[in-house]
Amino acid sequence: MVGETPMTRLPHHRLWRLPDLRLRWLLALGLPVLVAGCQRPTQSLIPPPLFDMQQPADAGPPANALQPAVSRDADHPAMLEDFETFAGSTRILFARNSAELDLAARAILDRQAQWLVLHPEVRASLQGHADELATREQQFALGERRAAAMKFYLTAHGVAADRLLPTSFGKERPAATGSDEASQSRNRRGETVLVGLPATPSR
């Protein structure tokens, strides 16, 4: 299993291949929502977990198989990439006009909660977004409702409420601007953005 190769053992010259490999893996799966979270070349070899978006989390590989990679280690402080890699995505999707968390969203939030519980020094901004198919101010309220649903779920899974900062962008920052349903469905989203965490290893 790929996840077992620790990053430190990786010969340096192989690093350049990494983004390419992962991108191909993602494209093959046809999960464009994951791409945004994985565009930065990361220093970790652990691929995103292999659960299907339509399946609950426990249908994927057992969570504890990956856990050693994110357990606390004073020599290797937590990084943004660790979170993205561990949770599989920083982004969840919603149905139209809904703030309900479906199974796929819960699966991602389960993993995000696990990671956040392991890293109590990290705070997270929960950002609700909405599609362009209703008015601006309505969608702003909907975005907040989505962020609140994420906060509720994460706190129910052990993350302290005061670490979570729900906010809304309404339809002000669309992920896709096409008028087709495929584009608009990508805008009905919630993003977990970590606050105060280095994006590169501090050595």
């Binding site: 198919l133 008015t135 509720f152 906010t167 008028s179």
Partner: protein
């Protein structure tokens, strides 16, 4: 070429200052939203070029062009072309305009007034009554020459409709100057017709939902400086800005009260959005609604005696009305589809809104009790209606089907006179100012 003189109207009696007008014979009939256009002539009165006015063209022509564009954009006037060249230095007789069938004649004489000032003598004539209906000497800095023409058009508009003109006004928009969504977003103010744009924000932060205060010298907008939404109050004269101190939650949809002393807004917390009122002097907030669900888009009536807002408490967004203390909440929109973003007209007689019907958003108007609902636009996605001070025109955001980037459009209340406001970048979320000071 010199024109024959009509002795009765040789005098151009100019009253410096305000126009005092009753409903004269030139009144435009706008009942039922259907106008019979007033036949009007607005000839160029040639003066030769004035440095800084127009682009090297005759200054009289440059100003007359702006006056014509303003009045024609309302759909209330039909422009008559009259043969011949007219000069600002000679008197102009009414006979040729009467022969052409013009009911009204607008003559504007421009000249430099020293100290970088420009003087524009604007007069509206009743051609058949052979008398001056309204006149005004307008003095502006040369650099603001377009304002002189806008104010002349305002004079004509108010004299013929009885409502204040909406031409000497500004428009706040959220401009998208970069390629990608969310990139290089700027708050831009410009003349109502798109001229003289200036950036109000320079930073990298996202801004949204701009609004003018009464008097048009203060603005409110939502800023996402560090990822969190903050309501910012800015003074356009001093350049000072401050973020408003609010209870915990995510604010949005702020508007000033008619007296400019309070801000009404929506505050969302734990998935529930309610309407709040903030007193700017004391900083105290008061919660006005508490129904579960999203209460947002509040807007005062111009007399301050009622508030309209949008709520999805019935299952889908509809428009509600309440007293300024939050009591007597009742639903007023019962037409097809959902109704959102209500905006009360400056005259108090109408409420504009966005109708949501499937994937389509369109602008409509109705009476303040919800009756006489009419959908007046027909775009794929029309939203964010904002009234002109005349109460006879609305700006809104239109996203043409298939095109990703929105633009600002203007419509009259019949929806028949619609045009795009020219901006070199895509623009959204229009906020139309009142009369400029």
């Amino acid at each position: 070429m010199r024109k024959s003189l009509a002795p009765a109207v040789l005098l151009l009696c100019l009253m410096a200052g305000r126009p005092a007008l009753a409903e004269g014979p030139l009144h435009v009939d706008i009942t039922q939203g259907v106008a019979s256009p007033l036949l009007i002539a607005i000839p160029d009165l040639l003066t030769g070029p004035i440095a800084g006015v127009g682009e090297g063209t005759d200054a009289g022509t440059a100003l007359a062009e702006v006056v014509r564009a303003d009045l024609l954009s309302t759909g209330l006037y039909h422009l008559l072309g009259v043969e011949g060249r007219y000069s600002a230095s000679t008197e102009t007789g009414l006979a040729p305009f009467a022969r052409a069938g013009a009911q009204a004649l607008v003559l504007g004489r421009v000249r430099p007034a020293g100290n970088d000032l420009l003087s524009y003598d604007c007069a509206l004539y009743d051609v058949f009554g052979a008398r001056i209906e309204a006149s005004q000497r307008i003095t502006v800095p040369v650099a603001q020459w377009r304002r002189a023409a806008h104010r002349c058009a305002d004079l004509v508009f108010s004299a013929t409709t009885g409502d204040p003109g909406h031409f000497d006004t500004r428009l706040l928009v959220v401009a998208q100057k970069g390629e990608a969504p969310g990139q290089a977003v700027r708050l831009v103010s410009m003349d109502y017709d798109g001229a003289n744009p200036s950036d109000l924000t320079q930073g990298r932060e996202l801004v949204a939902m701009p609004r003018y205060a009464p008097g048009s010298r203060r603005i409110l907008y939502l800023s996402f400086d560090d990822g969190r939404a903050v309501l910012v109050l800015a003074n356009l004269d001093t350049g000072q800005m401050a973020s408003l101190k609010l209870p915990e939650g995510v604010p949005s949809a702020a508007r000033f009260s008619p007296d400019g002393r309070s801000v009404i807004f929506s505050l969302a917390r734990d998935g529930d959005a309610d309407i709040y009122l903030l007193d700017l002097a004391s900083g105290t907030t008061r919660q006005l609604t508490s129904a579960p669900g999203a209460d947002t888009s509040p807007c005062f009536a111009p007399d301050g005696a009622s508030i309209v807002f949008e709520s999805d408490r019935s299952g889908q967004p509809q428009i509600y009305r309440m007293a300024p203390d939050g009591s007597d909440q009742m639903r007023i929109s019962f037409g097809k589809g959902a109704h959102a973003s209500p905006a009360w007209s400056p005259q108090g007689d109408l409420i504009a809104f966005t109708q949501i019907d499937g994937d389509r958003l369109r602008i409509g108007i109705m009476k303040p009790d919800g009756s006489k609902e009419r959908i007046i636009t027909d775009g794929a996605r029309d939203e964010d209606p904002s009234w002109g001070v005349s109460g006879r025109a609305l700006m809104f955001q239109r996203t043409v089907s298939g095109a990703a980037l929105p633009a600002i459009w203007m419509t009259d209340l019949t929806g028949k006179v619609v045009r795009r406001i020219a901006t070199p970048w895509s623009a959204s979320e229009p906020a139309w100012s009142g009369k400029r000071p």
